[in-house]
């Protein structure tokens, strides 16, 4: 929980003296992996960050995208893994709170939350179930109270998360471009701390998150208070409207140490603060506790003398505590005082910029043979297998989770959770689609193909709503970066994201790196998460009710790619094989063709084909529309595959389109013109889900039976164990 000998030496060289113990605490907080990105920063530079909609500014904690007509959308993603693994309710709740404040920092109102959750095998592991239930409740209680809808997300269960939890939260903001905070400060400006009081919770949280989880450290976990966060949001937005904010930053990892040093560094100024002025929750807190406490619901605002009075009035209206803790200086130092005496005095540029590392990396040994597995035997009764797959917690409906989240508040949610991508209406008449995707099973089998697949999947989901992807965020979660093999998977992932982002011209507008995700049992599988935002200029594709006689068109090729698939892992308990891989050229062609179709034709439903493959994708359409379907396996564009492979391969770049029979010629002609692999694979009718080879049924399952499995499995598991 302190500096390495090399870092100590570097610091002493830079400041020309030995730091005092408080200074050392401040620097150690800021130079933690969590705050400084010292292992990852050099590698993140390759990500393409420019784009015609991207607005960048000094000190923004979130990505900003221009959506036209004077409006902007902001987006950010963060995780709260270590805290959630110890105290899932508080950890997950404060995870929501933290990312919301990043959105607020830009001067935009948070309008949506998406979350990605990962736990151990809840079918067998009670502790994993406890983590899962309480993380969900934490997110629900926090987000619901704030009145910010949780519009989507994803959940994955895997043995590699045993005794651990990944809680990722993304948030989207919306506002007027002219209201974006400019982040400028001048000598003499006032530094105001607004919101929750500072206490002894979350002490050293950023360092706690920068080491593997060995012992439960409850004092490092922050305590949530959504009510004060809600008030802070309203205070900040009213202050923004009254132009009271010259610069702003939220207090997150590293507490005051990071907020002050990073603000001063980003603005090119000095900040002098007096810790005796900070409003506190507890008595006799030491200066170092005050500097590294990660108490939640706090914002740092810089304002001038003229606006300070108005700012105070706004805080008083909402009865939100505040304290004027310091002033802006010209000297570029962060000077910490306690009453009259100076107790720390450091150049902010040094504090805010940890010396970066060159971590060694090497190809993980396990990857050498992972593709070479003996293929599992095709089960006798594939109907049974399909039902089993539908009740797999990774595939079964997550409505037990998202009905606990208010996903309607704000009255923007046009396409609701449980669909492919979610869609929000914006004030300029356009629509924003959003989706996050991750897949630790794929990423373990092949880090490069795996993460590219997540990116492709998120794009496909957004395209299914009729949106064009305009920006992405990534969240890179790995084990200990000091292990060269783990670091190799990190580097490989960043390169893959970069390649895909460049090819598809989707700028990376934000992201986060979370390392040291491991317990005594070892590291997690590589789990990068990709979030994609898409813009719909005119009308979103809202799924229409499927009727008797409607046709299903499949676009894309099904390949021998079952490595890391739910079928291999869940049904056969096999890890390995060839992971689905994205051919960017083909994928781009398919995405463009499908988006064109959605925009120019009457497509009733566009559905992405991913986890669980074609078998699950078709079943979901049947289940949610209460209608049967007959699919002819021989018509599906594919490599030479056995029936189970055809049903459950998770090959990317595939879509299912549902159309009315009278639109068939038009749709098929357009697809033929785009020269993408496609076929009319089947017809909806009856009460059975049927996959047939010529005329013999390989799978026949009653829709109501499938419904029962898919809809109720997760809820039943949670309620009855």
């Amino acid at each position: 929980m302190s500096l390495t000998p090399q870092e100590s030496e570097y610091l002493e060289n830079k400041i020309g003296r030995k730091p005092n113990p408080l200074e050392l605490q401040i620097v150690a907080a800021e130079w933690s992996e969590h705050c400084s990105y010292k292992s990852s920063k050099k590698h993140l530079r390759i990500l393409p960050k420019e784009g015609k909609r991207v607005i960048s500014g000094p000190g923004y904690d979130s990505g900003v995208l221009d959506v036209g007509d004077g409006y902007v959308v902001t987006v950010h993603i963060e995780s709260h893994n270590h805290p959630s693994a110890v105290e899932p309710y508080g950890g997950a709740a404060t995870g929501v709170g933290g990312v919301i404040r990043d959105i607020l920092s830009a001067g935009t109102r948070p309008i949506a939350i998406l979350d990605g959750l990962r736990f151990g095998n809840i079918e067998k592991d009670n502790h994993a179930m406890w983590l899962f239930k309480n993380a969900v409740r934490g997110i629900a209680d926090y987000g619901n109270c704030l009145g910010i809808p949780t519009i989507g997300g994803e959940i994955e269960f895997d043995k590699c998360f045993t005794n651990y939890a990944l809680v990722d939260v993304a948030s989207i903001g919306f506002g007027k471009k002219e209201n974006l905070i400019k982040n400028k400060a001048e000598k003499g400006d006032y530094v105001v701390l607004i919101g929750g009081s500072t206490g002894r919770d979350g002490i050293g949280g950023s360092q706690f998150a920068s080491d593997k989880l060995e012992a439960e450290n409850r004092s490092a976990v922050q305590i949530p208070d959504p009510f004060i966060e809600k008030l802070v949001i309203e205070v900040i937005l009213e202050a923004r409207n009254q132009k009271c904010i010259k610069a702003m930053k939220d207090l997150g990892g590293g507490g005051l140490s990071c907020a002050i040093s990073e603000t001063a560094d980003a603005l090119g100024v000095g900040i002098e603060l007096d810790l005796s002025l900070v409003h506190k929750r507890e008595q006799n807190m030491s200066p170092s506790e005050l500097m590294v406490s990660e108490s939640q619901e706090r914002m740092l605002v810089i304002t001038d003398l003229k606006k300070l009075v108005s700012l105070k009035k706004i805080c008083e209206k909402f009865r939100v505590p505040y304290s004027v803790i310091g002033r802006v200086k010209e000297d570029k130092l962060m000077k910490v005082k306690l009453d009259k005496s100076t107790i720390a005095n450091l150049p902010s540029q040094i504090v805010a910029n940890a010396p970066l590392l060159d971590r060694p990396s090497s190809l993980p040994k396990y990857l050498k043979n992972i593709e070479k597995i003996k293929k599992p035997k095709t089960p006798q009764d594939l109907s049974k297998t399909l039902l089993r797959m539908l009740s797999n917690p990774n595939i079964a409906s997550k409505h037990w989770v998202y009905t606990q989240y208010d996903h309607e508040v704000g009255i923007r949610t046009v396409v609701k959770p449980g669909s492919d991508g979610s869609v929000l209406r914006l004030d300029n008449g356009k629509f924003l689609a959003a989706k996050i995707d991750g897949n630790s099973k794929h990423c373990y089998v092949n880090p490069r193909d795996g993460v590219m697949g997540c990116f492709d999947e998120a794009c496909r989901n957004v395209i299914c709503t009729g949106a064009k992807p305009i920006g992405m965020v990534d969240h890179l979660q790995f084990g200990n970066p000091e292990d060269p093999e783990i670091f190799w998977t990190f580097k490989e992932s960043v390169q893959a994201i970069t390649d895909y982002a460049k090819y598809f011209q989707i700028p990376c507008v934000g992201g986060k790196v979370s390392l040291y995700n491991e317990t005594d049992k070892g590291p997690i599988k590589p789990t990068p998460l990709i979030g994609v935002l898409g813009l719909i200029e005119k009308k979103p594709l809202v799924s229409q009710k499927i009727e008797n006689g409607d046709l299903v068109i499949i676009v894309g090729t099904t390949k021998d790619e079952l490595g890391g698939s739910e079928y291999y892992e869940y049904v056969h308990n096999v890890t390995g094989g060839k992971c689905p891989s994205v051919d960017m050229k083909t994928s781009k062609k398919i995405q463009d063709a499908v988006l064109d179709l959605i925009q120019s034709c009457t497509i009733k439903v566009a559905h992405d084909c991913s986890k669980g493959g074609l078998g699950i994708a078709v079943s979901k359409l049947c289940i949610t529309n209460d209608i049967g379907c007959t699919i002819s396996l021989e018509k599906i564009p594919s490599e030479k595959l056995s029936h189970d492979e055809l049903l459950f391969s998770e090959s990317h770049s595939r879509f299912l389109l549902v159309i009315k029979p009278q639109d068939e010629n038009k749709v098929m002609a357009l697809l033929a013109k785009s020269a993408v692999q496609h076929a009319r694979a089947g017809v909806f009718s009856g009460k059975d889900i049927v996959f047939q080879q010529k005329t013999s049924a390989i799978v026949r399952v009653r829709v109501d039976k499938a419904q029962e499995k898919w809809l109720n499995s997760l809820g039943a598991l949670v309620t009855h164990g």
């Binding site: 619901n144 809600k230 998202y402 606990q404 989240y405 208010d406």
Partner: protein, 229 residues
């Protein structure tokens, strides 16, 4: 055309206030005004709405602290004068806690917060918020609450029935509410509280079913105040 003024009261923690304001002004073209709970009610208002949310973070019990806000005294005076007053979700909880409506709202039987679409059925179409609806008409509507289970003792329930105070019931079993109650009125009928969210359901773009019935709740108010929509 007469200008109708509606006060939407904002408590610390209200979070459906702006949604309600949007629907009243942009969809139904009423003159809606957000009123902070410590401010006096504006003069010449024609109706009051207590919106949903988590006033005071649902501390102690949903709605109980807001029920003691300064503005509630004025709301009570207006209620006595017969002004149309609507409480939605947390607003309903506040009306109950302030004694303007009988009964209590308890935790859902699932013990979970519940956000979903359901149907409610009109049981009283004489109130200022239901007079454009038909008796027995079904309204597809959004619900989102943790403490939404309406409860009253037998005697109160009998009185509610006798006085025609049950305004809406659920079309399916939702949360274990007494008599499946989704909304009630006071004896005079001018104060209505409901757990479901009409402001989330009155625009077709966000309602996955038919938004027309929910929009009639607002059109009823316009009708009551003598404005033709």
């Amino acid at each position: 055309m007469k200008t109708v003024k509606v006060a939407v009261i904002v408590f610390p923690g209200s979070n459906c206030d702006r949604d309600m304001h949007h629907v009243l002004t942009d969809v139904f073209h009423l003159q809606s005004q957000l009123v902070w709970h410590t401010d006096a009610l504006p003069k010449n208002i024609d109706a009051i709405v207590l919106p949903g949310g988590f006033s005071y973070g649902d501390r102690l019990r949903a709605g109980v602290i807001a029920a003691h806000s300064p503005v509630i005294k004025d709301v009570k005076k207006m209620a006595e004068k017969g002004m149309p007053i609507l409480g939605v979700c947390n607003g309903f909880q506040i009306l109950v806690e302030s004694g303007l409506l009988p009964g209590a709202l308890l935790k859902n039987t699932s013990l979970n917060f519940m956000c979903k679409w359901t149907e409610i059925i009109v049981q009283n179409n004489k109130t200022p918020f239901t007079n454009k609806l038909k008796l027995g008409q079904k309204i597809p509507i959004a619900i989102a609450n943790g403490e939404g289970r309406y409860y009253a003792d037998k005697k109160t329930l009998e009185l509610l029935k006798k006085n025609n105070q049950i305004v809406f019931t659920y079309g399916e079993e939702v949360n274990g509410a007494s008599l499946g109650i989704a909304g009630i009125s006071n004896k005079q009928g001018n104060v209505v509280g409901m757990m479901p969210h009409p402001e989330r359901s009155a625009e077709q773009i966000i309602n996955p079913n038919n938004a027309k019935p929910a929009s009639l709740i607002f059109e009823s108010l316009l009708n009551t105040l003598g404005v033709t929509a």
